[in-house]
Symmetry: C2
Subunit: 208 residues, 2 copies
């Protein structure tokens, strides 16, 4: 069957978490800004992970890279950075874990580079081989759509008890330097006023 539409997706009625591929790509564009290859691969990864967890299980997520994959998780699951159900660890691997909030049992989905051999263009992109500028993004997205979950692996994992979320009620203070509130145990002034803010100096807005 011939490739159709702007994404070049073939007639394969593949779906990602119940959404048609074209619809998913529309959502990706609206949220992520563009149809990034990592969001296409990431969509198949989230779909595969979700299909392996028991229905109705309340799960949290770990994302092992800050690049693209967190947005696929945020788009397709209830886990977001801001609600605390998604935590990003910069382990440098394109992988995610969905796990039971309470017990820690879960599944990990990762990319197995050895299974990328049939798709050299996807392999080069994934392993960052060759110049980025020369890549045809549209063609790459089309290939990733056809590849689907092919290069993905699934593992059963148990998240360490120490990592499971504690609902800790930190006490807050007013910082004597900036006047804003901050967690009291950060020290006598807030971390921003301790020099950790990456901006300086701070001016009042003109006319304020």
């Amino acid at each position: 069957m011939k490739a159709t539409g702007s994404t070049g997706i073939s007639g394969d009625p593949a779906r990602i978490c119940g959404i048609g591929l074209e619809d998913y790509i529309r959502k990706v564009r609206a949220f992520h800004g563009y149809a990034a290859p990592g969001m296409i691969l990431g969509g198949f990864m989230v779909d595969l992970a979700v299909s392996h967890i028991p229905e109705g299980m309340l799960f949290d997520a770990i994302c092992e890279t800050p690049k693209c994959l967190p947005d696929a998780i945020q788009l397709l699951t209830p886990c977001t950075v801001g609600n605390g159900w998604l935590r990003i660890l910069s382990l440098g691997r394109f992988a995610l874990v969905l796990y039971d909030k309470k017990g820690g049992e879960g599944v990990r989905v990762y990319v197995d580079p050895s299974r990328l051999a049939p798709w050299p263009m996807a392999r080069d992109w994934f392993l960052k081989v060759g110049p980025k500028e020369k890549r045809d993004l549209e063609e790459l997205v089309s290939i990733l759509c056809k590849m689907g979950p092919g290069p993905l692996g699934v593992q059963s994992v148990r998240v360490e008890p120490g990592f499971l979320r504690l609902s800790r009620h930190r006490e807050f203070s007013i910082c004597s330097r900036c006047g804003e509130s901050y967690p009291k145990d950060d020290g006598p002034v807030c971390l921003g006023c301790q020099g950790q803010a990456p901006y300086s100096p701070v001016f009042p807005l003109p006319g304020k």
Copy 2:
């Protein structure tokens, strides 16, 4: 005017980044899972920040807390964690910066606790005073909607050149232990295999 609807919003036609309050709360529920007070306050913060940056400026975002506020930024601006235009720094302050991608000039919006005095319920929630369980979330959301940008401050900032995003092309390797790809300069094996993954042990799925 009497409070109306499930959110208790008064007739005030307040808008957040061009969206009516009720619509914004619907989007919050769909993305964040529930109408968290931090998302309401966060919505007004993003709206105020956006109103202070020049039209058409390509901006990146810094969020000084991982709690709630990153989701307001992700919902209302093109900046997400996964596309790299939003970076979260755990400075413990409920504040955000939107800044010019290239030059670093931007605006910071923060909450001024001294201006929360007229709203004791919002103040107690914001400063984490009193037991969390006793809070009437619906009433709090309604108060935050009425409060709007009242307690917010705006500053002009310049983000440090060293923090402005560099498009660095890291070289990737295959980890000799797990077989996955990882940034070569992380060491002889990936950070996960160096013991930084918070799960163990990893089993193959039954029947795989």
